[in-house]
Symmetry: C2
């Protein structure tokens, strides 16, 4: 076994090899490099202002807890900035309870305010109840959960008077989503996978930012592990779609043999996004006729989902 | 075992199930359906005029030989149209010789004129010689072959005074190329995967058309098999790139589980192509300073490749 010196400090022993850059990094340089990369992403996409109140969506998984730690550390350098953690409690027995405990613990350690917002309070249903109601029907639990969680995050961010909502989508998530949209032939969605998502005021949409969208998943995991950060590692009992899982495996296999492929994919999307936006009919957001939240149609997806649930219940 | 009736004629027994349409087809209806589909592709993209002289690139493999048979059949309905087969002899011992014999045989059966054009005559090198010269160098035999073969096809088409050059790219080839370009992040090339490729006159570029670009590879193979068409089935000894092979496997696996995925990918490319073309700086073709053939730079790729070979030889 050959022990390699760190490519950056040239002193300490390397603990991590980064195939797409050819670097071997020691623990200290790896952590600094990840944090530096997040700072570069924030500045490249002008994600924050120095006095932003930033809501961080913390599920309790490795990505969101790592994001919470990194952002808290970075924002300490901006005394006028504030961070606040938001956890959505979908109501998944034996899973979300543990995640909430972990999110709480991390917030306590970091001295960050923690707000929990539940599906039950907001919508009258837990996800477990939704699963029971919708069982054997075409729209699976993940579709309901995705639609309702995004809405819950917007409502909660507004409630805590946040200027931005930061989510923990990593490089793998983004590359997967782009490839999924290519395979689905969904041009509008290819154009919409972006690091910053805004809507024109006076719509009540809190701008969304993805500060770790260019950090590979394995590096986020290693970052959390090296800092001894506690996170939930059991997966959600209502596993995601089969196609996304396949795309994940495909991309990981490709990345092993062709390091950098995930970056290439998000760069490609970055390049074509402005062209697609110019070519596509612009999506005009308006207020949902039922709840007043921003939507592309007359009635928003969450209201549609809730109507369906009310109907199916009987 | 359940014997299914053909979905179309409702009389004969089905021999083929088409997962993406749900049809079960008998031999007769399958053949008619493939030929009808090719006619629709030709008309959708306005590939030919009734009095076109069409050069068909016939390598001797299943796709090009099937294309030769289908086009000859279709063009018989247009008395002013002519077809002529072109085979490029790259000079690959123990492989191309057999292919040429097969191409010749098919042309004889169909009464189609057959023209052979060799790398050796055009460029002074056979591919075998190129492989020997370039061994262990970064630009592999497939890169040389691709560049020189495309040029040879253009020269040969011009020599036989063809109005169009038809190549046998099938649906799988096209979907693979699009996905490859996505993974390579090559936006210009995503925009250039199209069924018809033209250049402004007075450039000496014979317009290229792909009449089977929406027929799945397995259907082309079955078509050739059912009609008892002879084709070369041994693969080229200089196998293609590893990445394309991986993409082929990925797409085939995806197609099995999600029938229609290859179509979705080419439709997606079709949708975004005009947007990309608008957004990208238009590629201006000019004459190569060495040979006068159309090129995007000062010196064309084939001339660059030949210069490199002349240099490496010594």
């Amino acid at each position: 076994m050959i022990l390699l010196k760190c490519t950056r400090c040239k002193k300490r022993l390397a603990i991590f090899f980064r195939p797409y850059s050819g670097e071997s990094l020691c623990q200290h340089c790896f952590i600094t490099s990840v944090e530096g990369q997040v700072k570069r992403i924030i500045s490249k996409y002008a994600m924050f202002k120095p006095d932003d109140r930033i809501a961080i969506a913390v599920s309790g998984g490795k990505d969101s807890v790592a994001l919470l730690h990194i952002l808290t550390k970075i924002e300490k350098q901006f005394p006028a900035a504030e961070v606040i953690a938001i956890t959505i409690d979908e109501g998944i027995k034996g899973y979300r309870d543990e995640a909430i405990r972990i999110a709480k613990e991390n917030c306590k350690i970091l001295g960050v305010e923690h707000v929990i917002c539940s599906f039950k309070d907001l919508y009258g249903y837990t996800l477990d109840e939704i699963v029971k109601i919708t069982r054997d029907r075409e729209m699976g639990p993940c579709s309901y959960c995705g639609v309702l969680r995004r809405r819950a995050l917007n409502i909660a961010s507004r409630k805590v008077e946040a200027d931005k909502l930061a989510t923990a989508h990593n490089l793998d998530d983004e590359a997967q989503t782009i490839l999924l949209n290519v395979i689905h032939g969904d041009v509008t969605r290819i154009a919409r996978v972006e690091p910053v998502l805004c809507a024109e005021p006076p719509l009540k949409f809190i701008p969304r930012v993805k500060p770790i969208c260019e950090i590979p998943e394995n590096e986020v995991a290693l970052y959390a592990y090296l800092l001894g950060i506690k996170f939930q590692s059991t997966p959600c009992p209502y596993i995601g779609t089969a196609l996304r899982h396949e795309i994940r495996q495909i991309l990981n296999r490709l990345e092993t043999r062709h390091p950098g492929v995930k970056f290439t994919i998000i760069r490609m999307a970055e390049k074509i996004r402005p062209m697609l936006k110019k070519g596509l009919t612009p999506v005009e957001l308006q207020r949902c006729r039922v709840c007043g939240e921003p939507t592309t149609g007359n009635i928003c997806k969450p209201c549609e989902a809730l109507r369906k649930l009310d109907f199916l219940k009987y």
